[in-house]
């Protein structure tokens, strides 16, 4: 059974993003970049499914040449081979979903496991779009995955609790935070990952139009909150709360 895991190179989640003064975007020059945290969880889940019938894990990234690093990280975690679709321009979720569909048509995996959202554009779209384009089942926000030879049963995190669905394979899963704890790549595995195969492609190789549909007119910092006050004790807090009408 083959699994494809798309991974994205994003600003490291610990770094506080800085909005560029000219309002064109967030400053990504000389800042630490990492694999999107949800994608790490997706890679980890694919690896854990290896003793449940998964025989090959292909990781895919779409983006600048430096995305190779992200793919090498996934290979060091335990993926078998990688495909990089090089695009120096940003590709929107719709374009990414179309490229992934082309890869799915070629590779014919049984499962595609994605992160539920990327922490840079916060879109939460790609997995659902891919499932729609392929006409296959989707299980988003997965917190538990049980795989059999022809179906997958997924517990999903939904507002108010959890929901379980069964999908016929092939299927698309997007993963939520609590699905698993991703492993760290060991030094020997990082070394080994250097010799694992990585194919380089372009969008044109797949005949996919990735022209953006959205134009970002400007990016600004959110309104700053005005500095508050510190109160000395509970009595003062209670007095203030009463003055605000929060407490009687």
């Amino acid at each position: 059974m083959k699994v494809i895991v798309p991974v994205k190179r994003v600003l490291d989640y610990n770094v506080k993003p800085r909005v560029k003064a000219d309002g064109t975007g967030v400053d990504l020059a000389n800042v630490k970049m990492s694999m999107n945290p949800f994608d790490e969880i997706a890679v980890e889940e694919a690896i854990r499914l290896k003793d449940k019938g998964v025989t090959e894990i292909v990781v895919v990234s779409i983006g600048e040449q430096k995305s190779q690093e992200t793919l090498r990280t996934a290979l060091a975690m335990g993926a078998d081979r990688a495909i990089l679709i090089v695009s120096e321009e940003k590709v929107e979720p719709l374009g990414v979903a179309k490229l992934l569909k082309a890869i799915v048509d070629e590779e014919k995996p049984d499962l595609v496991i994605l992160g539920k959202q990327a922490i840079d554009d916060d879109n939460n779209q790609t997995g659902q779009m891919l499932a729609g384009l392929l006409g296959v089942g989707q299980a988003t926000f997965a917190s538990k995955v049980e795989l059999t030879s022809d179906s997958v049963t997924v517990t999903r995190e939904v507002d108010g609790g959890a929901e379980t669905e069964t999908l016929t394979l092939p299927a698309i899963i997007t993963v939520d935070l609590r699905l698993n704890e991703p492993r760290y790549a060991s030094l020997p595995n990082i070394m080994k990952a250097k010799s694992k195969p990585m194919a380089q492609k372009t969008a044109a190789d797949y005949g996919v139009d990735i022209a953006p549909r959205l134009t970002t007119l400007k990016v600004v910092e959110p309104a700053k909150r005005s500095a508050g006050v510190k109160v000395a004790d509970v009595d003062e807090l209670v007095t203030k709360l009463k003055a605000m009408g929060v407490a009687k």
Binding site: V19, P93, G161, R213, T215, K218, K230
Partner: protein, 309 residues
């Protein structure tokens, strides 16, 4: 512009999140609704009363009973022949279906909008709310999800929508609903609560979380939330989580207890009207956004506060 709003419901009543979406849709043009489900007459009748609503399209079929994206998306796509935009709440339900609809229409979705600037221009948060982008779409049909806390809720009375049955699109056959576990709570639902009391990892255990947070929340008639750290440590269930990856809330008052204020958490609550922080670390980032702060031991402060209120 004719806009369609997907009505989120539990089979009996319209969920609050839908009301804010109606307000956003009304800024674009004529508002129609789609109520999909099984045995949804009561929901459709309630939806028709929402102020400003025109037609209410009703699709009553077992295939829509659990709002599976594979079945609902083709239904919405079918209705888009007569509509220019479709809006969904940015809830787990809306976020699941909307991008599938967008892909089937070959358009780029605009996620989690904060405002409608014009017919084709919207603002939305990126980087966990650390930046606000203004985006313009070139697509003829628009698929949008709406951040509920960014728009006023439409009135639930005063509307006179006409209810119309639509042709159903059947079951895709690729997915089956198995069951659900809904956490039961007597307290106000987080995303609509006026006051929220939220606990972090500093509470130390699930027992202490409930022993300290619950009585204070009850005193204030508040909903209870938690930071990711508290949820991951098992002190509170998943659906309590406030933050980039949990719920986005904007209550009148948000009380953060033992929460340091990591950017992922702030993304979920920094639009609250008043933020109150109780934390023993006076350098905790939460104090940079808090209107009222109290530095001290929460194990002493919280019981005292509960008693004095």
């Amino acid at each position: 512009m004719k806009t369609l709003v997907w009505v989120e419901h539990d089979g009996a009543t319209v969920k609050d999140a839908t009301l804010a979406v109606v307000t956003a849709a009304s800024q674009l043009g004529e508002v129609h609704l789609i109520v999909a489900g099984q045995g949804v007459d009561a929901v459709a009748a309630e939806a028709a009363k929402i102020a400003g609503v025109g037609k209410v399209h009703v699709a009553d079929d077992a295939a829509y009973a659990h709002a599976l994206a594979e079945n609902v998306a083709p239904l919405v796509v079918q209705l888009m022949a007569d509509h220019d935009a479709v809006l969904f709440p940015a809830t787990s339900g809306g976020k699941n279906i909307a991008p599938r609809v967008a892909a089937l229409l070959d358009v780029m979705q605009i996620s989690d909008i904060l405002s409608v600037e014009s017919e084709d221009t919207f603002t939305r948060p990126i980087y966990a709310g650390n930046a606000i982008a203004t985006v313009q779409t070139k697509d003829a049909k628009k698929v949008i999800t709406v951040r509920g806390t960014a728009f006023e809720k439409a009135a639930t009375e005063g509307g006179s929508g006409t209810i119309e049955a639509v042709a159903t699109t059947g079951d895709s056959g690729v997915s089956t609903y198995v069951g659900s576990e809904i956490a039961t709570s007597e307290r106000p639902e987080l995303t609509s609560a006026k006051i929220i009391v939220s606990g972090g990892r500093a509470l130390g255990s699930g027992e202490q979380f409930h022993a300290l947070i619950d009585p204070l929340a009850d005193k204030l008639g508040a909903g209870v939330g938690a930071s990711r750290a508290a949820v991951d440590a098992g002190y509170a269930p998943n659906d309590y989580q406030v933050g980039q990856t949990g719920k986005i809330v904007a209550p009148e008052v948000y009380v953060a207890i033992g929460i340091s204020g990591a950017i992922q958490h702030l993304a979920g609550m920094k639009d609250s009207k008043t933020i109150i922080a109780i934390n023993k670390d006076e350098d905790a980032p939460i104090f940079q956004v808090a209107d009222l702060g109290l530095v001290g031991d929460l194990f002493k402060i919280v019981p005292e506060l509960t008693e004095k209120l």
